[in-house]
C-alpha cells in the first residue's frame, strides 16, 4: 500500500510513517499541511492519504476540506481523516463516500486494527470510528433509536462503522444468520430500505442518524 501522510505535528507525522513502514507499507510522501497535496497525489498516485483535520493555517477543518477536494478529483484514492476528538459534523458530512474513513487519532495505537481499517479504506471501503458512531447513536429521548434493543443498537453501531454482516458476526461472536436477522430488524425499525451493501449501507444509516440528530 502506497501512503501519503498529511499531519502538521512532526513527531506524530514521523510516528505514523514509521507505523506504516513497520507494517510493510510504503510511505511515498509526508506533508505538514494540505497546500501541495494535489500535486503530491498527482505525482505519486498513492492508494491512501492520511489527513489530520486540524492543520495550519486556521487549525479548524483544513483536513476535511482537503479530503472533500481530493474525493472530487481522485474518487478512487482512499482518504482516511484523523481527528483529535469526536466531531460528528465532519463525519456525517463525508462518510458515505466510497474509500473514505474517519477515525479518532488514538486508534493508531491499536496498530493491527488500524492498518486493517486503512487497508479497507484504500480498497474502496468505509470506516467510521466507534466512538463517533456511539455519539451518533446515543438515543435521545423520543428518538426512533429508542425502539432498538441493546443488541440491535450494537449491530447498528458496527454497521455504521462500515463492517459487513460477516465482520459483525465475527466481532459479536454470533452466527451470520442471527446478524442478518438483527440487521433486518434494525432497518425495519428505522424504516431504512433493505438490500444495500457496504458503504451504501453506512450512508443509509448515517443519513438517517443525521436526520435524527437534526430533529432532536
Amino acid at each position: 500500500m502506497r501512503v501519503v501522510i498529511v499531519e502538521d505535528q512532526v513527531l506524530l507525522r514521523a510516528g505514523l510513517a514509521r507505523l506504516f513502514v513497520d507494517g510493510g507499507h510504503e510511505v511515498v510522501a509526508t506533508l505538514g499541511d494540505a497546500t501541495t497535496l494535489a500535486d503530491v497525489v498527482e505525482t505519486h498516485g498513492p492508494d491512501l492519504v492520511i489527513l489530520d483535520i486540524r492543520m495550519p493555517p486556521t487549525y479548524t477543518d483544513e483536513g476535511s476540506r482537503a479530503a472533500r477536494d481530493l474525493k472530487s478529483w481522485y474518487p478512487g484514492t482512499g482518504v482516511l481523516l484523523l481527528s483529535q476528538h469526536i466531531e460528528t459534523a465532519h463525519a456525517v458530512d463525508l462518510v458515505g463516500q466510497p474509500a473514505f474513513g474517519y477515525l479518532l487519532k488514538d486508534r493508531v495505537l491499536e496498530v493491527e486494527e488500524f492498518l486493517e481499517t486503512a487497508a479497507r479504506v484504500a480498497g474502496g471501503g468505509s470506516a467510521l470510528d466507534p466512538k463517533v458512531v456511539a455519539a451518533l447513536v446515543a438515543p435521545a429521548v423520543g428518538s426512533p433509536l429508542e425502539r432498538l434493543s441493546e443488541r440491535e443498537r450494537r449491530v447498528l453501531e458496527l454497521m455504521a462503522e462500515g463492517l459487513t454482516n460477516a465482520a459483525i458476526a465475527q466481532r459479536l461472536d454470533l452466527s451470520l444468520r442471527t446478524v442478518e436477522a438483527h440487521v433486518r430488524h434494525v432497518l425495519l425499525k428505522l424504516d431504512i430500505p433493505e438490500g444495500e451493501k457496504g458503504h451504501r449501507r453506512v450512508l443509509a444509516v448515517l443519513t438517517h442518524l443525521r436526520a435524527v440528530h437534526e430533529w432532536s
Partner: protein, 642 residues
C-alpha cells in the same frame, strides 16, 4: 331679530367710539384730572372693542351688542359731551350748556344697559320670561328719570313723589332684581357656565369693591380713582373673555391668587402697622428704625406666610387641585394596602393633572441620562413639552414631562407631585433595582461566555498539545515493540500495558477537554461523588441519595464538590471531609465540610471566586463558612427547574 345682522355695525360702533374718544381727550385735556380723561376713554374703547370681538364670533350675542352700545353711549354722551361742555365754557363755544346736561344724564341709559348685562350674562338670554319685567322696569325708570336728570324736574307736582324719584327707585329695584337673577344663575350653574359666572363674579366684585371706596373717599387719594378706572376697564374685558371661553378654566386660579394676595396684603399691613407702633413706642414716633424694622419684618413675614396662605386659599378655591390631591392620596392608600404598584403613579399623575401624555422620567444616578418608567433611556424631550424637576429630601428623583394647557394645571403640579413623592421615589427605586439586576444578569452572561471561551481554548490546547504528544509516545512505544520483534514476550507485554495506559490517558484528556460531564455522572451524582471520595487521599464521608437532577445542575454540583475537596486537601490540610447532597425547596444543596485550618473566603482564592460565578451563572448561590481554626464549609444552592 328678524332682520339680518349688519356685519359691519359692531366695527362701525367701535370706530365711532374711538373717534369720539380721540375727540373727547383733547377737549377735556387740562380741564379735569388727566387720569379721568384717559382711563374713561380706555374704558369706552374696551367696552366697544370687547363687544365687537364677541360679535365677530357670535353675531347675535346680546351681551356683545350691549357692550358695544355701552361703549358708544359712554364715548358720545359721557366723554365727548362732557369734553365739549368743559371746553365750550372756557372758549365760549356754543352748545356748552346742552352738552353738559347730556353728560350729566349720561349715566342713566348706561345704568339700564348695565342692568341688562346683569340679566343676560353669559348666554344673552333672560333666565326666564318673567325676568323681562325687570328689563322693562329699568327702561321705564330711565324714561321717568330723563327729564329730571336733564334739568330740575320740570314735571314735579307738589305732594307727589317726583318722576325722577320714582324713576330712580324703579332703576334701583331693577338693579337689585338683576343682581338676584345673576346670583341665581351663579348658584344653579355647572361646568362651563359655572366658570363663566365665576369670571363675571370676580370682575364684578372687583368693580364694586373699588367703586364703593372711590365714591366714599373721592379725592382722598389719587390711587382710588385710578384703581376704579382699572376695574372698570377690566370688567368688559373679563366678560368678553368669559363669553369667548378664553382661558376659562384659569378662573379658579385667578380667584385663588387674588385671595392669596389680598389676605397677604392685609396680614402684612397688620404686621407692618403693628411693628411701627411697637418700635415707635420705644424709639420715638417717626423713627427711621420703626420703618426699617417694619419693612424687614413684613418681608420676612411674606416669605413665611406666602406658601401657607396660598395652600389654604388653594384648598378652598381650587377644586381641581383638591380632586387631584384626593386621587393621589387614594392611590397612596392603595399602595400601602398592596393593591397598587408604585409604577402606576405615572397614570395617577396623568389623570389627576389631566394630561394623558404626561411622562415621568427618573434620574437613577447623578448625571446619568434619565430613563422612563420601564427603565429605557428617555428620548429627548419634545419641544412643545414642559419639564418639572421632581425633588424629594433634596435629592432629584427625576422630572415630569408634560403639556399643560392651563395655568391652573401648572399651578397644581408642584403640590400634586409633592403629594405623590413617596410613590415616585418607590417607582424610581424599583426602576433602579431592575436596572441593576439587568446589569448583573448581563455581567453574569458575560462571565459565562468568557468561561465557555476559556474552556474551548483549554480544550484546543489539550487536543493539539498533550493529546497529540501522547499519541506519538504511543506510536513510539509501538515502534519499539516492533523493533523488539517476537523475541521478548515479557517486554512486549510491558509495552502493551504502557500503550493501554497512554490510550486511557488520551481518553481521560478527551473527556476533560470536551467539557463533558464526567463519565461517572451518567450513573448519578451520588455514584460520581462516591467515586471522587474513593480517590481522595483523606477519608471522605458521602451523604447522597439516588435522586437525579437536571444534567447541568448535577455537573455544577459535581464541580463544586471537586473544588471543595481539592481546597480541603490542598489548602486547608483537612484530615476528614464530609460531602453532602440534598434536595431542599426545589434546589439542589451540595456542601463540603472539612476540619482544616479555615479562614477561606470567596474573594481571596480565585478558585472559589470562579466557582461562585459558575454557581451564580446557573442562578444559584455559593456560601463559604470558614473561621480560622474551625474548618470550612462550602455550600452551594442550585435551583433545579425540573
Amino acid at each position: 331679530m328678524g332682520l339680518p345682522t349688519p356685519r359691519l355695525l359692531p366695527g362701525f360702533l367701535l370706530a365711532v367710539t374711538v373717534v369720539a374718544e380721540l375727540a373727547a381727550v383733547p377737549l377735556s385735556w387740562g380741564l379735569e384730572p388727566a387720569y379721568d380723561t384717559l382711563l374713561f376713554a380706555v374704558f369706552s374703547c374696551a367696552l366697544a372693542g370687547t363687544g365687537a370681538l364677541i360679535l365677530t364670533r357670535h353675531p347675535r350675542h346680546a351681551i356683545g351688542w350691549l357692550l358695544s352700545g355701552l361703549g358708544v353711549a359712554n364715548a358720545l354722551t359721557g366723554d365727548l359731551a362732557q369734553g365739549w361742555g368743559l371746553r365750550a365754557a372756557v372758549e365760549g363755544w356754543p352748545g356748552g350748556t346742552v352738552a353738559e346736561l347730556i353728560a350729566g344724564a349720561s349715566w342713566l341709559p348706561q345704568a339700564a344697559l348695565f342692568i341688562l348685562i346683569l340679566l343676560l350674562f353669559p348666554t344673552g338670554h333672560l333666565p326666564g320670561r318673567r325676568w323681562s319685567l325687570v328689563a322693562w322696569l329699568s327702561v321705564l325708570g330711565v324714561v321717568l328719570c330723563g327729564p329730571g336728570a336733564l334739568e330740575a324736574d320740570p314735571y314735579a307736582v307738589d305732594g307727589l313723589p317726583t318722576p325722577f324719584g320714582v324713576g330712580i327707585t324703579l332703576i334701583a329695584v331693577a338693579m337689585l332684581a338683576a343682581l338676584v337673577a345673576a346670583l341665581r344663575r351663579f348658584r344653579s350653574s355647572t361646568g362651563v357656565l359655572r366658570q363663566q359666572m365665576k369670571w363675571f363674579a370676580l370682575s364684578s366684585s372687583f368693580l364694586v369693591l373699588t367703586l364703593i371706596p372711590t365714591a366714599m373717599l373721592w379725592g382722598a387719594s389719587p390711587l382710588l380713582p385710578v384703581l376704579s378706572a382699572v376695574a372698570l376697564t377690566l370688567w368688559p374685558v373679563v366678560i368678553g373673555a368669559a363669553i369667548l371661553r378664553y382661558r376659562l378654566y384659569d378662573v379658579d386660579l385667578v380667584i385663588s391668587r387674588t385671595f392669596t394676595y389680598l389676605t397677604l396684603t392685609i396680614l402684612l399691613g397688620l404686621v407692618y402697622a403693628g411693628t411701627v407702633v411697637v418700635i415707635g413706642t420705644f424709639a420715638g414716633q417717626g423713627s427711621p428704625w420703626a420703618t426699617a424694622g417694619a419693612t424687614l419684618l413684613a418681608a420676612a413675614a411674606f416669605k413665611l406666610l406666602h406658601r401657607r396662605v396660598q395652600e389654604r386659599v388653594d384648598d378652598r378655591f381650587l377644586p381641581a387641585r383638591q380632586d387631584a390631591l384626593r386621587s393621589v392620596a387614594a392611590f397612596l392608600e392603595r399602595l400601602r394596602a398592596d393593591q397598587a404598584e408604585p409604577e402606576q403613579v405615572e397614570d395617577v399623575l396623568r389623570s389627576s393633572l389631566d394630561d394623558p401624555g404626561l411622562e415621568l422620567w427618573f434620574v437613577l444616578q447623578g448625571d446619568d441620562p434619565p430613563v422612563d418608567a420601564r427603565g429605557r433611556p428617555a428620548t429627548a424631550r419634545p419641544h412643545d413639552t414642559e419639564s418639572f424637576a421632581v425633588e424629594r429630601g433634596g435629592v432629584t428623583l427625576g422630572q415630569v414631562v408634560w403639556r399643560p394647557r392651563t395655568g391652573q394645571q401648572r399651578a397644581m403640579l408642584p403640590s400634586v407631585v409633592a403629594a405623590a413623592g413617596m410613590a415616585i421615589d418607590m417607582a424610581r427605586l424599583r426602576v433602579e433595582l431592575r436596572h441593576r439586576l439587568e446589569d448583573v444578569e448581563a455581567s453574569r452572561a458575560r462571565i459565562a461566555t468568557v468561561a465557555d471561551e476559556e474552556r474551548r481554548r483549554i480544550e484546543r490546547d489539550l487536543h493539539d498539545g498533550a493529546q497529540q504528544r501522547l499519541v506519538s509516545i504511543g506510536l513510539t512505544l509501538r515502534h519499539a515493540q516492533h523493533q523488539l520483534g517476537s523475541d521478548d514476550l515479557g517486554a512486549r507485554q510491558t509495552l502493551d500495558g504502557a500503550v493501554a495506559e497512554v490510550a486511557a490517558a488520551i481518553d481521560e484528556l478527551r473527556e476533560l477537554a470536551h467539557g463533558l460531564r464526567p463519565a461517572l455522572l451518567q450513573a448519578g451524582l451520588g455514584a460520581a461523588l462516591r467515586d471522587l471520595a474513593s480517590r481522595a487521599p483523606v477519608p471522605v464521608d458521602v451523604a447522597a441519595t439516588g435522586d437525579r437532577y437536571p444534567p447541568d445542575v448535577e455537573a455544577a454540583a459535581y464541580f463544586v464538590a471537586c473544588e471543595g475537596l481539592t481546597n480541603a486537601v490542598k489548602h486547608a490540610g483537612a484530615e476528614h471531609i464530609q460531602l453532602q447532597v440534598a434536595r431542599h425547596d426545589g434546589s439542589l444543596v451540595v456542601s463540603v465540610a472539612d476540619d482544616g485550618v479555615g479562614g477561606a473566603a470567596v474573594g481571596r482564592g480565585s478558585g472559589l471566586t470562579g466557582l461562585s460565578d459558575r454557581v451564580a451563572a446557573r442562578g444559584g448561590n455559593l456560601s463559604v463558612d470558614s473561621v480560622l481554626g474551625r474548618g470550612t464549609r462550602l455550600t452551594a444552592e442550585l435551583p433545579c427547574v425540573s
